[in-house]
């Protein structure tokens, strides 16, 4: 505590607290965490799952000139990451509006 940094909470933040009740904020946070859990589950499956753990099994399946496991490891996982981020962006923008915590 010796070097305690004197940076106080900005005054405008209090406004946020008064305008939205704590339970509503808890709900918003819970929905956010649910979204994260689903998206991170898919994140794990496409990369660590399809690209590493099950790569041998998936390599028995072919699409075009690719073995499927190899395709996931060097192409598919990256496309999936991209889709995940954009789903997150859309979903969170909707959630922000729904709970009236958006910035506009």
């Amino acid at each position: 505590m010796l070097f305690f940094n004197e940076c106080q909470i900005k005054p405008r933040l209090t406004v946020t607290y008064m305008s939205s009740s704590p339970s509503k904020m808890e709900q918003y946070w819970k929905k956010n965490l649910q979204t994260l859990a689903i998206l991170l589950f898919i994140w794990f499956i496409v990369s660590f799952g399809c690209g590493i753990l099950w790569v041998e099994e998936l390599n028995t399946i072919r699409i075009g000139g690719f073995k499927l496991g190899f395709w996931f490891a060097q192409q598919g996982a990256i496309y999936a990451f991209l889709v995940l981020i954009f789903i997150y962006v859309v979903r969170m923008n909707k959630l922000d509006k729904e709970f009236n915590v958006n910035e506009d």
Partner: protein, 561 residues
């Protein structure tokens, strides 16, 4: 116009462009110097992040690493892109809402402790310095290969350019030069890739060409598996690394990416929380263009090199092989004296040695493209190295001027702080240049360090700082130090102290030093939780801060207070 003239022209033009942008966008305040005034659009920030992220190694070496390791190279592709999902979902929006300038800022405020801040500064400096030395070296190498100048000269010219726009422009100058640098580097990477893909597989899209056929009904990847197998190498599409090791390396690279301070700080420059999320998406999109092309360039390059050299008479090799032999990036030695080139896994009988950078650098010649494309690739490699170096230098100078100086001398004026920021940027450029000219023998090894340290020190502490209200100062400091000491010890032991023991049977649970950051991260989490539970909860104003960063409403521009 000959090749050298084209190269000078294109590299010169790109440099003039960067300097022009630097003069146009020079920083006038600390806010502009640290976070470009907080007014960068999500699209511009996405472009800048992509250039910031993709270094000389991504541009020149990654395709080659994949060429020689096949499936094992996937750890880099997944690791260096998957981190952006973590960044977008778990860190960027909240750090943007927090609304200050640096990662140590967040650690110091959230953990209400300047000790935690100082530990964070040390991590940030260490990570950034290890990284920047490699970039300066990269600039020097490009100069020496394409412009036929000594490496030292190349480093000095690179230093002068970075010095000019990083010191003058700060984050504002860097952001807009990085936007230009992304355009240069992606164009330079894609042009040869598209032409080679067309020639080999008839498909102009490299990502599809990788799955295309090289002969009637024979897919490229099957052909590669067969050819490499016949020569005694592992199959291209299956690797040598164990599954636990692949898993841990990928995880360490992903988490390390999300914890790198020069990447995180880019998300402080956009106006809103919403923009931070969106620009992480843009950044990954721009990165993915190169990262999905690289495995194609890798496979095309390997195929071309084997086809044009293996079992071919030494005096009838294609012209590009002869050209690159002069630079020693391709070395041929007829060990058995049969006049043919044998490419074999056994170093005692192998007659062909290829530097990994050749897959990208020789691309235009392999595809028989005009000379200006060669110049373009040189400018692209330079853009990749300079943009990353500038981003890192900014983190270094900010750490010194803001996290160290301003913390302990809070009363200095904005003008004076800006001067200190510029001075420390200048100092950092000179130090980085010194390391570029006299590289420590372990430049390649320290990359494992940078990612391992980012993964084991920053990531858990930032993540818990947002998602737990219970984790406190004692837990954070203990966690960071545990992760840091553990990871440094493990890597040093195998890389520097006993390099001869650096094999799978000596590693703990088969985890290589590249992947140990994952274990360091897990330890950090455990210690952080454990110590926090045994010590008092954070004070109420910190609890309130956490509640506040969790909701987007009310994010002003990044500010001092």
């Amino acid at each position: 116009m000959d090749l050298l003239a084209w190269t000078y022209l294109l590299v010169g033009l790109s440099f003039a462009l960067y300097l022009g942008i630097a003069i146009w966008s020079r920083a006038g305040s600390t806010e502009e110097f640290y976070v470009a005034g907080g007014g960068v659009s999500p699209l511009a920030n996405g472009l800048a992040t992509a250039a910031d992220w993709m270094s000389a190694a991504s541009f020149m070496s990654m395709a080659g690493i994949i060429s020689f390791s096949g499936y094992d190279g996937s750890v880099y592709l997944m690791g260096w892109t998957g981190g952006y999902v973590l960044l977008a979902l778990l860190l960027a929006p909240y750090l943007r809402k927090f609304g200050k300038f640096t990662v140590p800022d967040f650690v110091g405020d959230r953990y209400y402790s300047n000790k935690a801040r100082v530990v964070a500064v040390i991590c940030a400096l260490f990570i950034s310095f290890t990284y920047v030395a490699g970039q300066m070296r990269g600039v020097g190498i490009v100069f020496s290969r394409y412009l036929e100048l000594p490496i030292e000269w190349g480093v000095v010219i690179g230093m002068a350019i970075v010095f000019f726009y990083a010191v003058l422009g700060g984050m504002k100058g860097i952001t807009y030069t990085q936007v230009a640098q992304y355009c240069v580097l992606i164009f330079a990477y894609m042009v040869p890739a598209i032409f080679i893909s067309m020639q080999l597989t008839g498909n102009p899209i490299p990502q599809l060409g990788l799955g295309g056929d090289v002969a009637a009904e024979v897919p490229l990847l099957d052909k590669l598996d067969g050819v490499l197998g016949d020569l005694g190498f592992a199959e291209y599409t299956s690797g040598n690394k164990s599954i636990p090791d692949l898993f841990m390396i990928t995880l360490a690279l992903m988490v390390g990416t999300a914890g790198l301070p020069h990447v995180i700080v880019r998300f402080f420059t956009v106006p809103k929380v919403k923009d931070a999320r969106l620009s992480a998406g843009y950044a990954l999109a721009f990165i993915a263009i190169l990262y999905t092309t690289a495995p194609a360039v890798a496979a095309f390059g390997m195929y071309n090199i084997i086809q044009s050299t293996s079992e071919k008479p030494i005096d009838q090799l294609p012209e590009w092989v002869q050209n690159w032999q002069q630079t020693k990036l391709i070395q041929i030695e007829d060990k058995n004296g049969d006049g043919l080139v044998q490419y074999l896994p056994d170093p005692a009988t192998n007659e062909l040695r290829i530097d990994k950078d050749i897959m990208v650098l020789a691309g235009p010649e392999i595809a028989q493209l005009p000379d200006w494309v060669v110049g373009l690739v040189a400018a692209g490699a330079m853009a990749a190295a300079l943009s990353t170096a500038a981003g890192l230098l900014l983190v270094i100078s900010t750490s010194v001027s803001r996290d160290l100086f301003k913390t302990f001398r809070p009363d200095i004026s904005d003008k004076k702080e800006l001067r200190i920021a510029r001075l420390s940027a200048a100092g950092a450029v000179i130090l980085a240049g010194y390391f570029g000219i006299n590289p420590p023998g372990f430049v390649a090894e320290v990359v494992a360090f940078a990612f391992g340290l980012a993964a084991s020190s920053f990531f858990p502490v930032i993540l818990l700082g947002i998602f737990s209200t219970r984790v406190n100062k004692e837990g954070a400091i203990a966690g960071m130090l545990t992760g840091l000491v553990f990871t440094i010890s493990y890597i040093s032991y195998f890389k520097f102290v006993y390099p001869e023991l650096n094999t799978a049977e000596h590693w703990w649970w088969g985890i290589s030093p590249e992947g140990i950051g994952s274990l360091g991260m897990a330890l950090n989490f455990l210690v952080c939780f454990g110590v926090s539970w045994l010590t008092p909860a954070p004070p109420s104003h910190v609890q309130q801060l956490i509640q506040d960063i969790r909701i987007p409403k009310g994010a002003g521009k990044a500010s001092n207070h």
